[in-house]
Symmetry: D2
Subunit: 434 residues, 4 copies
């Protein structure tokens, strides 16, 4: 976790304090369930809740762990210091450390997913706002980085919205994947603990009981979770790359927001760097790098080995923190992106009217000119634009072979931008609903 | 694609013949829609269907492409050879090559997903059968590769079933991800073609219209598709690793099926290698390696660049073919896996009764013996088993300090395997339904 | 392997014919060594060479393998059909299949590396030629896609040369990594075969004996090999991205070569797509995707498991074929790249003189103007350029506060391009030698 | 960076204090060089060294950065607070932030590499010691997890030594890759700074001047660096997996060291988990995950974009810290690994003598028995061992058809372990030198 790429809300989920709090809640709820089953005395279960408002002392727990060499035992020992060892005696009974650790991880991941959904919603709101704002702002569509046909800036935002909307649905599904808990004992047989305990704890922690666990919750769930984050990161990169292209000096159709007083920007107005979206490109790589180790974590030996643990200690917090930060950074960039519609027109007209050459070609063919002749006609006029900076429409109107096939009005019509934007509303309705 | 790791059904989906057939159908349906809109004459649209039963000549198309340097134009030229250039004139009107190519890719991917679902169902059926067959076959559960507590072979199959069942649901979702088509023209604006054409073509091809496309269908969909295949592959590895462990000489709880006459196996009966599951481990790596390039494909420049294309030419067929083969190989391995219940018991009892030491420890504590004393008592008897090969239960029954706390019947009960299997039915009901 | 992305020379290395030839040579050389040791009769060893010019019949070997289920045995059986079963009797004695397979793989990889070095040399030659050709062709340097300070096109080529030169050295090292052979028997102990056989075979096949093998040659070697190819691929992407940027409509500083008659290019002269470099971007992803599975192949179980094999069957040919093709494609692109120096100047002057603002700022500071005042002075003149399209130098010369600090000649000097290119020769000497 | 998986020496390299110290040294050496060139006054250059022993105040620099939004400027401002703004005026002249940042990164990476080499040497020493210690400790070699032929524990250590020795050489090469510095100004042209400054700074910082840089040092170097760490990590996994296999209950040929008093281990002596090597398996995944983003970092836009920066902020420290920790943990595991030679023999003899069946088969064939008959003879005796637990040698000696072909002494010889270990010294000489 890199402080400059993190938000405190997400960091808090992964703090030792938060972790111990979840451990505590799991143990306390388990005691309730055990008491209900008559396995442990009700008063001992009740006593555990005396620590309800305790902020556990991380340093003290670390101190105990240094002796016991076991994190869960260290925590339980510390808990006993709060509720008394007599009452603490029944805590954790029949459970294995993994019951606590794995259920806790999934609580953390679902909470992280909830924050990511909030971040995603901010991104979506920003994209929608900007899409409607620039629904009719014409710019040139580019394939291969080369001018193709006109489109609108609103369509660009709308497609990013649609992509992020799909990502939102994926994230909801990914959250479901990891929203399970397991209190099933040493190898998952419930030999030492009744399944009712698992059911109660899961219900209270907002999870579903894992239908079948071993010592651990199966890691295909986590693999799917991180794979989904990797897809989302790639979409962030997709948007970031578009903005970086738009901001490059020769294009300049948009710029990341610069506060008016920001040093350097006005003395060198051409030198406003798209550093936020470049940064997002890098952060996307960081999020994505968790995918492979998460996939490698699936094949644990028999009822578990602990190879997944160190991986998750790293990618659990790092990946969710980075993605959360990236989504908010992206939202900020989109919200405040400075857009230059006039430059969009200027760029489109760099080769005066040439982007319409395909329409003219088609029109000639449809007017009955042979494919070869149509090519020849378009070509000779296009070359004048390309080589001498002429205006394409003017040249066409002056070319008798062309005007023999197409009337001036027909030629004129080929340069009508409305032709290209006539279905924008249809597309918006598809994306945003009627 | 490696022939030995492929099945003809899946290979067929990716053959040039199949691809051209799909191209043809897309073009023909598009003509129908264009005719319905009055854009092209109905008779020309109808004429296109004359090629309905044509098996397109791949060599001939390649020949034309060598001249035109354009695959779709080469195909259209060849199509004209079948239906006459007069009628062919209106084919592809208003469309861009990507409309055909991208929609085709998604048709292929959904068909591939359908085959993968069939393969998955075979795996699921095999796992379920073997799970019930060995529901009560006791074997030792292992954490860290070390004996922990008893479980059953049926639970092992059941958890693989549950994992694969999740994978099936993921695959259904992944199929939905790529089940879209786009006939939206040069940069996705429908400038040259009515959205109704896209709707008709998609409906006829079993796809949903892509709500908003550029020149291409957005690649986050494909990224999610391949990421999902990567997760499935990791689950295959998970099962393969378990079987490889079971077959190793010292464990020998199961073996991949060997036909009785298979050379070498009977002259060296100890040398039956788990080559199929080792192979599956490697195939899993091959499937997984498509995930990162699929993620890298998402961020295309503006309305498209063509960097994704070469990647998909490779991973489209290779990954689905490999996964399909791997799933069927896995199903075969599971269906015919030779299981040795007696060796499972033998292994469990390697250190006579020692796997029950934790239960005894717990029982002593619950009987009021202090934690320290309980440890000491278990330890001194355990060490006799460990070092001298004694029987744990016998030693405990002979230890007066132990029998002071636990009656012989209580001690006996700690070694009851039924204790560990009592919830197997509950778990099976969770996994397979009541 | 995708035919359109492959060259026959590299494909040939991986053909079954080539593989069987290498198997044959290994077996024949091993017989020689065994004969020299007196293990087998000299005449039988000599007899094996009767098949020296045989082109082995792949279909026949496949036929036999269908029965024997073992590739090496199938080959040996076929070999016996050529040299007689009496003489063939001693072939392969004391060897294990892996001895042949692993040594063969490394022969293929070193031959592949040799072809890659040839391809690399072609790339290097092209880069060097173009570097000297455009040593003094000034273009704007860009950081963050934004105009920074002038540089030259030659420096761009020179840095790609330097990068590829490093890659060449890495490739030589990677070739050394896999240039080992092993004829060490079942688990690498030479129990059934003398180390002298390994030495002889390796010498004859152009390899070093693997100092210590198990049943297989250790896979860290292959991991390093493929990791190196991944780095080279990333450098290809680096060059490809630069060219794609240069070709985009708004920049147009270079274009991939278009044959004058190429269809479409002259009717739509603005629509020449950098499809080769886009393709290279995708091919780079394909090469890179072999790195992770190659790394995962290192940790084999004990003296070998066969999980690596299916991975290598795919990535061995696919990765080397793709990289070889990509390097030659890249060389072709560089050799024929059409460069537009006049557009480079036009782009640099988009904001007339503004790229020199930093030099002016520095000059003012050095002339004793405070940092704050210097900023203010540069800023007010820069904004006229930025907002009104004025010429920066003209404005500065007309600003009395500026001219109070800097003489006209000093201002003039700040716009001298020679200032930026004065060390080009020094850098060239560093890169290409004096 | 996860504290529990880190060593303070490596963490220190990446501390802000260490980074600022390097920044300072670079700036100070640059001033010296500038003074030598007469660009800045000698006394000002000398004055900079007054801060030689300053421990820079990270909090204060952060405070300034919060205002200036620029890390290098914040540092320079703070430096001026130490040496006076008059003298500080000439610091950083002609340089760009990247000159400092990139050169610093490479200083850190080379220092990290130096620590990794120390760690590697500890691993090598441990492996060598254990190799010689168990040079003649016979154990069964396993292919596919199945008993094959005998080998020795020393050979296992020796091959890990050879693999790590290759890794050491790779690491030395990787260190060279990143041991360059650049002080070349805004786009690498040395327009504002003489190459002599770069030469001096690099020399003083223990680096080579980067022959040609842009605003940044080319990232193929770093890609190669991290790719190499990924290979090393895979070798760590290789060793870890071997040990995990050896420790599993059914094998028990070795165990990670347990301190005698370690809780739990003696009450449950069978439950000593190979947690360190499992952890190493996970850490290997973490190290490896840096490879792909490092490869993706190579293709920066034009003279640089900043996408690489966030990636390196994470993987620079995280990967080197994790690998350093992993190497030391591995060394500790190897140094103290508890090895059970008697269990090795016990395992080898699990199927009494059956591992020798291949030698017997070969001997029969060599004695003139047909291949088919040899098989039949071996088979019928092998099956008695396999199914009835008989002793293979005893059965062979009692089989008249066998003894008709082989004398008792010849049969006896086939079971001689010395046959398998006769070349151990040869192999050791290859690995460790004569």
């Amino acid at each position: 976790m890199i402080p400059r790429y993190s938000r405190p809300e997400m960091v808090a989920i992964w703090s030792p304090e938060a972790r111990f709090k979840i451990w505590y809640e799991i143990e306390a709820h388990a005691c309730d369930a055990q008491a209900a089953l008559g396995v442990i005395p009700k008063e001992n279960a009740a006593a555990v809740w005396r620590a309800k408002d305790v902020q556990f002392d991380v340093a003290r727990i670390d101190e105990i762990e240094a002796v016991t060499k076991h994190d869960v035992i260290a925590f339980l020992t510390h808990l006993a210091e709060h509720i008394g060892s007599e009452d603490a005696r029944f805590v954790h009974q029949g459970m294995t450390s993994s019951d606590v650790l794995d259920t806790t991880l999934n609580v953390q991941l679902t909470r992280a997913a909830d924050l990511l959904l909030v971040a995603m919603d901010r991104v979506l709101a920003a994209l929608k706002t900007r899409a409607y704002e620039h629904k009719d702002t014409v710019r040139i569509g580019r394939s291969h980085g080369i001018h193709a046909e006109p489109t609108t800036m609103g369509l660009t935002f709308a497609r990013f919205y649609a992509e992020m909307h799909r990502n939102r649905a994926r994230l909801v599904a990914a959250r479901e994947e990891v929203a399970t808990g397991a209190i099933s004992g040493a190898v998952g047989t419930f030999a030492n603990i009744d399944p009712a305990v698992e059911e109660h704890v899961c219900k209270m922690m907002g999870l579903q009981p894992e239908p079948i666990s071993t010592q651990v919750i199966p890691r295909d769930r986590h693999a799917m979770f991180f794979a989904t984050l990797g897809v989302i990161a790639s979409s962030i990169e997709n948007i970031a790359i578009e903005i970086r292209h738009m901001q490059r000096t020769e294009v300049l159709e948009a710029e990341e927001f610069f506060s008016p007083g920001q040093k350097g920007s006005s003395a060198m107005p051409h030198k406003r760097n798209p550093v936020l979206t470049e940064n997002l490109t890098g952060l996307a790589r960081l999020v994505r790098m968790s995918v492979i180790p998460a996939l490698e974590n699936v094949a644990l030996w028999h009822e578990r080995d602990i190879s997944h643990s160190s991986v998750e200690r790293a990618i659990g917090p790092d990946t969710t923190i980075t993605l959360d930060f990236a989504l908010h950074r992206l939202a900020g960039v989109v919200e405040k992106l400075v857009i230059y519609p006039e430059n969009m027109l200027k760029n489109m007209n760099k080769f005066k009217g040439l982007v319409m050459s395909q329409r003219v070609l088609l029109a000639l063919t449809q007017a009955g000119v042979s494919r070869e002749d149509s090519y020849r006609l378009v070509q000779r006029n296009a070359m004048k634009v390309w080589e001498q900076g002429a205006d394409f429409k003017t040249e066409l109107l002056a070319d008798p072979e062309v005007t023999a096939a197409l009337s001036p009005a027909e030629i004129e019509e080929k340069f009508d931008l409305g032709y290209h934007t006539k279905h924008v509303d249809t597309i918006f309705a598809r994306v945003f609903g009627a």
